[in-house]
């Protein structure tokens, strides 16, 4: 099965008029959502999960992927044009991009962001095409014990490494696993945590959980701390760049991509670290370091590329192993389960058409984003005039609609409220969201893998350690868990650039 011919088949599917339309809708929605503060691709995909009832899987995922990539583009537009910097997720882009805009170079900033995103996204997707099958081939050779070990590692990595408090990460994980436990045990049929309520026997639908945690929880949190701002958008014409700007952007784009892709592919890598690294690198390598902080184009080109490459990188473990490394990937995985498709290494085997159509549409989506955003970037800024009451009332409205449409039961709305309040509490007390959602999604799968592994070894726990890969992974797990203790012992040497470390720890799990 030649990779490139599969990809061509994927293009054939992705380029049908219907799917092109879905790609377009996806990128438009994604950009809009990226522009607006308080909304994000994860929330949007969660709110759109009901469409999986009517759409073919390929079409739905094409749209979701469009939303994912689009979100990156939208965020950079806001951070460049809004004269209250630091208000969007592309914080690093805002540092230089906004200064450029104030100096009258908004068009160049937008152009370098858009083109860089396109290049990074395309290269990233090519790398995805190259690496994903390799990972799949490796993963398929793994047995249950190793797969279980890898799942444990990725869960642990996200919980223990991301965010400022690993303790709270574990708290969130525990809660997520609990939610995942509700329902009838798949193996024995025993009721767990159903409290005699027949409506809970099927468990709590992942759509309801996703919508509750991402949408309702966020809406409640924003409502509790409603911001009152009145900023101005810096007016700008068509984005474009002069030759000098192109020359200065090329290498940052490529370097940014190199940073972003690996971090995106690693669990707990995320997009914040590579964008920051890219910024620091560009500053160090620049022939004009004094421009940094006053509108250096390299400071926009690199981080934007890193951002998009990281998004592509995230798709490697998601598609090849079924392991999500950020919130949006997690919600997309939930969509897989909605369709009854089992994510994991066998996905490429069982649903090649879907996977390759999805990957092909990433290329198409990237191109669409470039073509749309280059001329339309200033227009997107108009969206920022939508009053918050409508935005968040809309989120609550669509969240309710989405959750209700799963089973047409008001009971699900009750669960939505309870879990939404949980989402609110978590945001209030600094419990990270990602471990919870991963616990809900991966928990049942982990349990299944565990039981199958031990079943094959007749109940001997050593059955978990029968494969060399499993042992290696567990060693890594031990290292990850014991790292903070080791650090405390060695803590005499203050980290160089403590400020840099603190900057990096401002993580936003969207």
């Amino acid at each position: 099965m030649d990779v490139w011919s599969s990809l061509l088949d994927g293009f054939a599917t992705a380029a049908t008029p219907a799917n092109l339309l879905y790609a377009l809708v996806g990128v438009l929605l994604g950009t809009a959502v990226g522009v607006l503060p308080g909304l994000g691709p994860a929330m949007t995909v969660a709110l759109l999960l009901p469409v999986t009832f009517a759409l073919e899987p390929a079409s739905a995922f094409i749209m979701f992927a469009g939303i994912y990539y689009g979100g990156m583009y939208g965020g950079s537009t806001t951070s460049i044009l809004l004269n209250t910097p630091g208000e969007s997720s592309s914080v690093v882009t805002a540092i230089e991009g906004h200064k450029m805009a104030k100096a009258g170079r908004a068009a160049q900033a937008l152009a370098t962001a858009a083109i860089g995103s396109f290049i990074a996204g395309t290269i990233g997707t090519v790398l995805l095409v190259v690496f994903a099958p390799v990972v799949v081939k490796f993963a398929v050779s793994l047995g249950n014990p190793s797969y279980f070990a890898i799942m444990v590692l990725s869960l642990l990595a996200v919980t223990a490494v991301l965010g400022t408090s690993r303790l709270r990460g574990f708290c969130a994980l525990g809660l997520g696993l609990t939610v995942g436990l509700v329902g009838a045990d798949p193996v024995t049929g025993q009721q767990r945590l159903t409290f005699g309520l027949p409506l809970l026997v099927d468990g709590i639908d992942i759509v309801v959980v996703a919508v509750a945690i991402f949408a309702v929880g966020e809406a409640l949190w924003v409502a509790a701390h409603l911001r009152r701002t009145a900023a101005h958008v810096i007016p700008v014409g068509q984005p474009w760049m002069g030759r000098e700007d192109w020359k200065r952007s090329w290498w940052p784009w490529l370097r940014g991509t190199a940073y972003g892709f690996p971090f995106g592919a690693l669990p707990a890598g995320g997009a914040e670290i590579p964008t920051f690294l890219s910024y620091v690198t560009e500053k160090r390598l620049s022939k004009r370091p004094e421009e940094f902080g006053h509108g250096a184009i390299e400071g926009v080109a690199g981080p934007e590329a890193a951002n998009n490459a990281s998004a592509a990188g995230t798709l490697v473990p998601m598609l090849s192993l079924g392991l999500p490394t950020n919130a949006t990937a997690a919600v997309m995985l939930a969509a897989f389960t909605q369709y009854g498709i089992q994510p994991g290494p066998l996905l490429f085997d069982r649903e090649p058409q879907l996977v390759w159509a999805l990957i092909a549409s990433l290329f198409i989506g990237n191109l669409l984003l470039l073509l749309i955003n280059l001329p339309l970037a200033p227009a997107w800024a108009k969206l920022l005039q939508i009053p918050r009451p409508y935005l968040y009332a809309g989120i609550v409205f669509f969240a309710t609609l989405g959750a209700y449409s799963v089973n047409l039961q008001a009971f699900d709305l009750g669960i939505l409220l309870v879990l939404g309040l949980l989402g609110f509490l978590m945001r209030r007390y600094g419990l990270p969201i990602l471990p919870l959602i991963l616990g809900v999604i991966l928990g049942p799968r982990l349990e299944k893998q565990l039981r199958t592994s031990l079943q094959l070894s007749d109940g001997h726990v050593s059955g978990l350690f029968t494969e060399p890969v499993a042992i290696v992974v567990y060693v890594i797990v031990a290292v990850v868990l014991l790292w903070p203790l080791a650090r405390r012992l060695v803590r005499r040497t203050p980290a160089a650039g403590v400020g840099a470390v603190e900057e990096r720890e401002k993580v936003e799990a969207r």
Binding site: T229, P387, P389
Partner: protein
């Protein structure tokens, strides 16, 4: 005793400001300029940014009139803020600028000017550019 004017960085607002300055000068009272926003949307072009604020400040300084600028976001409508300031500062006159609205616009969006006219504790001067 003072003259309160609702200011927006537009033609209507500048006109209102001109009239307000003249009134404040002839009455010999302080001029209070109110520029506010509900802060509902992330972007509000009617709220003066730093540049516009500075320009406003220098214009006011040039007039030589005793003045004060109220530039807050308190989650209230412009009309509510203007009226509240008028009451606090015991205004003897409120000046506002009028803009054209279609009949449908008047229904759906309400009108700052209308609310100020109806609820003001003192005479209101409504001007058009």
């Amino acid at each position: 005793m003072s003259v309160v004017v609702g200011y927006v960085p537009t033609r209507e607002g500048e006109t209102a400001l001109d009239h307000a300055v003249r009134e404040a000068r002839s009455r010999g009272v302080r001029l209070v300029v109110v520029n506010t926003s509900r802060g509902d949307a992330l972007v509000d072009e009617r709220y003066a940014d730093d540049e516009q604020l500075a320009a406003l400040g220098s214009t006011l300084a040039d007039t030589g009139v005793d003045h004060e600028v109220v530039h807050t976001i308190r989650g209230r409508d412009a009309s509510e803020e203007i009226l509240s300031v008028a009451r606090e500062r015991r205004a003897e006159l409120v000046v506002i600028g009028l803009r054209r609205r279609s009949p449908v616009g008047k229904l759906l969006l309400g009108s700052t000017a209308q609310r100020v006219l109806l609820d003001a504790p003192c005479p209101v001067l409504a001007v058009k550019p």
